[in-house]
Symmetry: C2
Subunit: 316 residues, 2 copies
């Protein structure tokens, strides 16, 4: 009954980590009180907590995890993917039976593997990935419309990446309860304006390696390649960056710790996509060296075709 128009989705929703994603979710939930009756947030840094209190985007702000999650029916981890396991370990003993536990990390397999050892069958763990963000971070960077018309991928099938023992320990014996929890988290994200889609965690990591992690890796890399050039050339790269370099490296200004964690936590899929890319780049180098005009044209045409598909998809 919780998703009827008069009753909010959650009674007490706790956002752990009021950064870009967490504070945006809080801001949206402040505007739409059908998401949660009471909005709670927590950060280990007292200065962040004082600042979030000033911003007025939560009903309660705690420095202690225990005080925050007590009595919660929903908890969302909005922290770097490298910290998910540790925080889950701390909060699990404090959660009431039936609590919905979620997280918003950019990688899914490693997060599920980090969280699973601590799960209980009476806690519903539903991983999500709201594909939204800017190059800025922290509570001031958030805004209530961040998720509008963006995708939020939901990967409820955690059993595809956990061990057999974990499966028994972590999955509710009642599949319908899990399905209800999944629908509830989908409703939450739809209320923020996002479009939701369910996906297998392994497949999620491959898709994100291609659409996001590999482009970021290449952008960071070409910047450091340019940085290694002799002084004169390097300064000219900056002067003439408008010719392509600038657009190509725009995504290279995102948060370093977040990206280090993503690269390390999506190692397998990222290295696979990078290897495919390197083979293709080598083939292009060979075609240029041997002046294989037809091959080069084919590659350029395929690039343009993909770009046009993006334009048709209204993504570009």
């Amino acid at each position: 009954m919780q998703d009827s128009p008069i009753s909010p989705l959650f009674e007490r929703l706790v956002i752990i980590g009021p950064g870009l994603i967490g504070s945006s979710l809080l801001r949206r939930a402040c505007l739409d009180r059908t998401i949660a009756r009471t909005l709670v947030t927590t950060d280990h840094n007292p200065q962040v907590c004082a600042h979030v209190t000033q911003l007025g985007i939560a009903d309660e702000v705690h420095t202690e995890l225990a005080a925050a999650v007590e009595g919660a029916d929903g908890v969302i981890l909005c922290i770097p993917v490298g910290a998910m396991g540790e925080v889950t370990e701390q909060i699990i003993p404090l959660l009431s039976p039936g609590t919905l536990l979620s997280e918003v990390g950019s990688t899914k397999v490693s997060v599920i593997r980090a969280v699973s050892p601590f799960l209980r069958p009476d806690i519903f763990f539903i991983p999500t990935h709201p594909m939204a963000g800017t190059e800025f971070s922290g509570p001031d960077a958030g805004f209530s419309t961040l998720f509008e018309n963006r995708w939020c991928l939901i990967t409820p099938n955690i059993e595809t990446v956990t061990t057999e023992t974990q499966k028994e320990r972590t999955l509710s014996p009642l599949p319908q309860e899990r399905e209800n929890a999944t629908r509830k988290i989908e409703t939450l994200w739809q209320k923020t304006g996002a479009k939701t889609r369910r996906m297998d965690p392994i497949h999620h990591d491959k898709v994100c390696a291609m659409v996001s992690h590999l482009p970021h890796l290449l952008a960071f890399t070409i910047c450091s390649t340019a940085d290694d050039l002799a002084d004169e050339t390097r300064s000219e790269v900056l002067d003439y960056a408008a010719s392509g370099f600038r657009d190509f490296t725009r995504i290279a200004s995102s948060d370093p710790i977040m990206w280090r964690d993503i690269f390390l936590n999506n190692k397998e899929a990222l290295l696979e996509m990078l290897a495919r890319f390197m083979e293709d780049a080598q083939a292009m180098a060979r075609a240029i060296r041997w002046e294989d005009s037809e091959f080069i044209m084919d590659r350029i045409e395929r690039g343009r075709r993909i770009r046009h598909s993006l334009i048709d998809n209204k993504q570009a």
Copy 2:
């Protein structure tokens, strides 16, 4: 005296190839009649000529090179870099002594080598590279403000890439005349709103390989890597492209023939920069595989530093 306020820079200026760059130059010169008294353009395609006549951006439009260049004191080749040699061969016998011959190709060494065998010591050949463009091409794509605040690189020292025999045959015995011609072409580009800078042709090709040609090569390549993925994943790459892929591949929609020519005509410098990039990408792959967190952070930080330099330079 030609650059005094009342007398135009050129009496009869011929733009060979009224495409994106050529038609933009014509449009600008129509607005600022201190650039040329008579504006002439030529294209081998009669339909293009008819269309350019309709656009009203030139005083004379010819399908025949000979009719266009007769009596010219300035000729600018605005054609693909692969066609520069052939067109020069055709027009050189028709040019009056003292004519300034220029071109706007994106690569300099190969163009100078293609043009030089046909030069005469009484023709002043001044290569240029206006670093401006869009992903569109043809006479309709041009606009009069295309060059405003953009760089135009001038590479007058063609002797650094020509043979000794060519040097004697192609270079005017009077260095001051060459200097005057260089200043005249600089003035032309400054009148279009561009900032000019002189550069050695070999150095030009290295800088452009890094700031423009390599980013385009990588953007085309990652698009075809994505295109090779299994159907399901490929369609998802399009759905979720907003996460980085889209920005990263924006430059991959430019004209295929132009880019094929650029890749083939800047082979040496491009392959050098690509090799450096591949080494750096391999090092990054190795660091991810072995979880060398410090190395990864260093690369990400350097990427961000370069990005911040661009922002400080008001390029981003």
